[in-house]
């Protein structure tokens, strides 16, 4: 019996392997499990290799997991193309179509001895049972259900929903294929017990509010919830689904989606909408962020609220458009000429995307600033069960507008104590002003004076000081007095969360800081966090270890807290992080005394 299983499958485009994965997580979710799926495709638009990774567990998990428990290869050529994304290890049970001709002895997995390996006559069984090759994915689902015990009825419910629309015959064929797979599994038990622990199927009331979705869709939904009325953008993988969701839904809320001619126009239109008084947003990926840089600077100096989502992919340049990387943090914090400060937020999982997006709008509106949400391909395109989100716990903030008396002597950029100046918009009598990219005085008139420039820089930076006190945006987990510390962000943070749990199980005392507000750096909070820390890791998926470097800019990071980083398309696995933690602990042996302040 297991409480947590990771299944990886790969095949050709037509094999329907991804739709099998979808059936599986849908069923698992309905059955009350925590379910999570990532997909991966070859470069072809159609007919290339495709794969998915499904993780199902009795309790909440935080990442796609490590090496596979069960690997299903419809053919080996396709399977092997996914490399570390479908990692097979000594604990993996490997299943493949015997029609591939591969035998247990000729398994193309050099250096790996799987826990069990079984060639199944997938094609033959499917043909026999269903009378067509097209139902191979249903047969695989039957096998999986048979071996893991995952909610047979829930899977069948889902399959029926899908196929019945296309005709009784097709549905019947798939039902037979599923049954054949199920029977085959029962008749061929594995040497490893992959049976998933049973949990009580939730009642309707229990599953109310529980959803299954991906990071991009929930981000878009959050934008609508936060009051977004304008989206300007241009398609780019892996962010396009945000625009696509809004292109379906935003109109219902009086909003508009503009598919602009390019990313510059997309963000410029959003800035225009914000100038006109509406909450506005754009979403893109790295190359689009590059192009938006200039207008982003305009929003900063014109002090216009704006939410910018960057769904990171592998870079630089066109890079690896369909793979995750956390390589755009430097850009988020430092792109654009001149001195600017803009908050950078990063979700760590699908559920976070909702909170973080709402927060991004609130911060943008409160401080009249662009805010960057750094998502990544992994979070954005993975499907995950999300526990009910109580939307009533959010306060929706809108920008501070001038009072009638303020309008009598309105100065758009009044140098207030907080740095925030009430903002009017076209249509408001008495509130007219000149917005501009040029430096200006409090009234908004252009100024090239060094004194005025200093004053305005101070004002703009002052606005965001308060943000560094937002401890609710800096999650700390694990043993608060642990001598070993980790910092991680974005999709890597989930992996570290699980590593902390693994470490705890091994008796290692570790704590973990997850900044949801990645920038500006909350110096004080980190100083407290690093107090007494002897060693540790900053874990992230970029070649340079960008967060590690940025931390050092503002915080005295203890010398033995090191960067654990590597290029994208190759995410860390919890076990790897654990291994590094164990090394760190080993290196400390004898040196660790409780809470001795570090020398840094």
């Amino acid at each position: 019996m297991t409480a947590d299983i990771v299944i990886g499958m790969a095949g050709s485009g037509g094999d329907g392997i991804v739709s099998a994965g979808e059936s599986l997580i849908n069923a698992a979710a309905r059955a009350g499990y925590h379910a999570l799926m990532t997909k991966s495709f070859g470069p072809q638009i159609r007919g290339g290799e495709s794969s998915c990774r499904v993780r199902i567990a009795t309790t909440r998990t935080h990442s796609p997991g490590g090496a596979l428990d069960l690997a299903v290869a419809l053919n080996w050529e396709d399977f092997l193309k996914f490399g570390s994304e479908l990692k097979v290890s000594g604990r993996t049970v490997v299943i493949w179509d015997s029609a591939t001709g591969v035998t247990r002895e000729t398994l193309p997995l050099p250096g790996v001895k799987p826990a069990d390996a079984l060639a199944v006559p997938l094609t033959v069984l499917t043909r026999t049972a269903a009378g067509t090759d097209k139902a191979k994915n249903s047969l695989v689902l039957g096998l999986l259900s048979g071996w893991t015990g995952i909610a047979q009825d829930a899977i069948l419910e889902g399959l029926k929903k899908r196929y019945i629309k296309k005709g009784e015959a097709l549905w019947a064929a798939n039902e037979r294929a599923f049954a054949a797979g199920f029977t085959y599994a029962k008749q061929h038990p594995l040497s490893v017990d992959l049976a998933l622990e049973k949990i009580a199927r939730p009642t309707d009331a229990q599953s109310k509010g529980k959803i299954l979705t991906d990071g991009n869709d929930i981000t878009a939904a959050a934008a609508i919830f936060a009051g977004c009325q304008f989206f300007g953008g241009y398609p780019i993988t892996p962010s396009t689904e945000i625009m696509q969701f809004l292109a379906r839904e935003i109109w219902k809320y009086g909003g508009t989606v503009l598919q602009a001619e390019d990313e510059i126009a997309g963000v410029a239109a959003a800035v225009g909408a914000s100038f006109a008084g509406k909450k506005a947003m754009t979403a893109t990926s790295g190359p689009g962020m590059d192009l938006k840089t200039e207008v982003l600077g305009l929003a900063s100096i014109a002090e216009l609220p704006l939410v910018l989502v960057n769904v990171q992919r592998g870079g630089p340049s066109t890079g690896l458009p369909t793979k995750a990387e956390q390589g755009d943090l430097f850009q988020a914090c430092f792109s654009g000429h001149g001195d600017v400060l803009r908050p950078v937020l990063a979700p760590t999982c699908v559920a976070d995307c909702f909170d973080i997006t709402v927060e991004a709008f609130n911060i943008a509106e409160t401080y009249q600033t662009p805010v960057i949400v750094l998502s990544d391909q992994e979070i954005a395109q993975r499907k995950e069960t999300v526990d009910p989100i109580d939307t009533s716990r959010f306060t929706i903030v809108s920008r501070q507008t001038p009072t009638e008396s303020e309008l009598l002597d309105y100065k758009r950029f009044r140098n207030t104590e907080s740095g925030v100046s009430p903002i009017s918009c076209p249509g408001v009598h008495g509130g007219a002003y000149l917005g501009a990219g040029i430096e200006h005085n409090e009234a908004g008139a252009p100024s090239a004076s060094g004194t005025m420039h200093t004053l305005m820089n101070e004002k703009r930076f002052r606005k965001l000081r308060a943000l560094k006190q937002r401890e609710d945006l800096l999650l700390i987990e694990g043993d608060p007095n642990a001598p070993i510390a980790m910092v991680s962000w974005g999709s890597s943070a989930g992996i570290c969360r699980e590593a902390v749990q693994l470490a705890k199980a091994k008796g290692l005392r570790v704590k973990l800081m997850i900044p949801l507000l990645v920038y500006p750096i909350a110096e004080d909070a980190y100083a407290r966090f690093f107090q007494g820390v002897q060693a540790g890791l900053v874990v992230e998926q970029s070649f340079q270890g960008q967060l590690y470097r940025i931390l050092r800019m503002y915080v005295d990071v203890p010398r033995n807290v090191q960067s654990m980083c590597r290029s994208g398309a190759n995410p860390f696995q919890p076990a790897e992080v654990l291994a590094r933690l164990q090394e760190v602990a080993l290196s400390l042996q004898g040196r660790v005394s409780n809470a001795t302040p570090s020398q840094e």
């Binding site: 009325q229 076209p426 009598h429 990219g437």
Partner: protein, 293 residues
């Protein structure tokens, strides 16, 4: 939109900021024509958003009492569209230079036009980069010598009139401050046109312009399209007249679509009205995902 605000005169649109254009710059006339046209239209300044890019000409919003947005070089049209789509009640003006609109901003023009957002776009076409002190502009004649075309330009100028016609603009006109009543009338008509309207203004640069581009030369050479018998409903004929750009100075309306199609924002409004009927309340938006689970 209170009633007492509806009576406005040209001076209500003039701001306190003193123009820093060179004495004699054509842009003085352009801003005057805008004051007057707006007064004729009668909308109060605070219901107007006036967007520009960067350039001498792009300083123009600051000299009006409207909400101004002197943005960045070349991006006035996307910003103006964002404003208009966010609040279709506003009167949205957009203005800038030939460099701003036809060089760095060239990619935005066809798209603003094909969307048919109801914006009036005024280009102060002086065939030069004024603000940066006299470089070659995309409308400068072949052979023109400037600091960046020291031995004479070797590229053909673009033809803004022909371009915007090919983009499908519903209203296309050309004016000059050498004919102030004419220019004022064109600006007014452009604003009144329900859809994207384009006015190319031959606005002389007295500092970097050439003799034959100055007001005096214009006065001597300009010919109104009306006097030439052009019917602004005739699209193919408009294309033909447009090919004269850079050769002869024709003023007036080149093309006015006799049956203005629905604007982008009208179509959006319609869509919003239809679809809002079956919207979940915002706070229940996540229920959209429940059917998947």
């Amino acid at each position: 939109m209170t009633a007492q605000l509806n009576v406005v005169s040209a001076k209500d649109f003039k701001s306190e900021l003193k123009p820093i254009w060179c004495p004699g710059c054509g842009d003085f006339g352009v801003v005057q024509s805008i004051y007057r046209a707006l007064a004729n239209i009668g909308r109060p300044p605070h219901e107007i958003a006036f967007v520009s890019g960067i350039g001498c000409s792009s300083r123009i919003p600051g000299y009006t009492t409207a909400y101004g947005f002197n943005s960045v070089h070349g991006r006035s049209l996307p910003i103006a569209q964002g404003i208009k789509l966010a609040n279709p009640e506003l009167l949205v003006l957009c203005a800038g230079g030939d460099g701003d609109g036809f060089s760095i901003g060239a990619g935005h023009l066809p798209h603003a036009i094909r969307r048919n957002v109801d914006i009036t776009y005024i280009v102060m076409d002086n065939q030069v980069y004024g603000l940066t002190k006299g470089q070659l502009s995309p409308t400068a004649a072949k052979g023109r010598k400037t600091v960046t075309s020291v031995y004479g330009s070797i590229e053909r100028p673009i033809n803004p009139l022909l371009q915007v016609l090919s983009y499908g603009a519903g209203f296309v006109a050309q004016g000059t401050p050498a004919d102030m009543p004419g220019l004022t009338a064109l600006v007014e008509e452009a604003i009144r046109y329900p859809g994207f309207a384009f006015v190319n203004v031959q606005s002389p640069c007295v500092t970097y312009g050439e003799e034959h581009q100055q007001m005096k030369a214009q006065k001597a050479s300009m010919k109104s399209l009306g006097s030439l018998g052009h019917d602004p409903k005739d699209f193919l004929k408009a294309l033909e007249w447009a090919t004269h750009y850079g050769v002869e100075l024709h003023t007036g309306v080149l093309y006015r679509n006799p049956e203005p199609p629905a604007t982008y924002e009208q179509q959006i409004r319609e869509r919003q009205n239809t679809l809002s009927r079956d919207a979940l309340p915002r706070e229940r938006i996540l229920e959209l995902f429940q059917k998947h689970a």
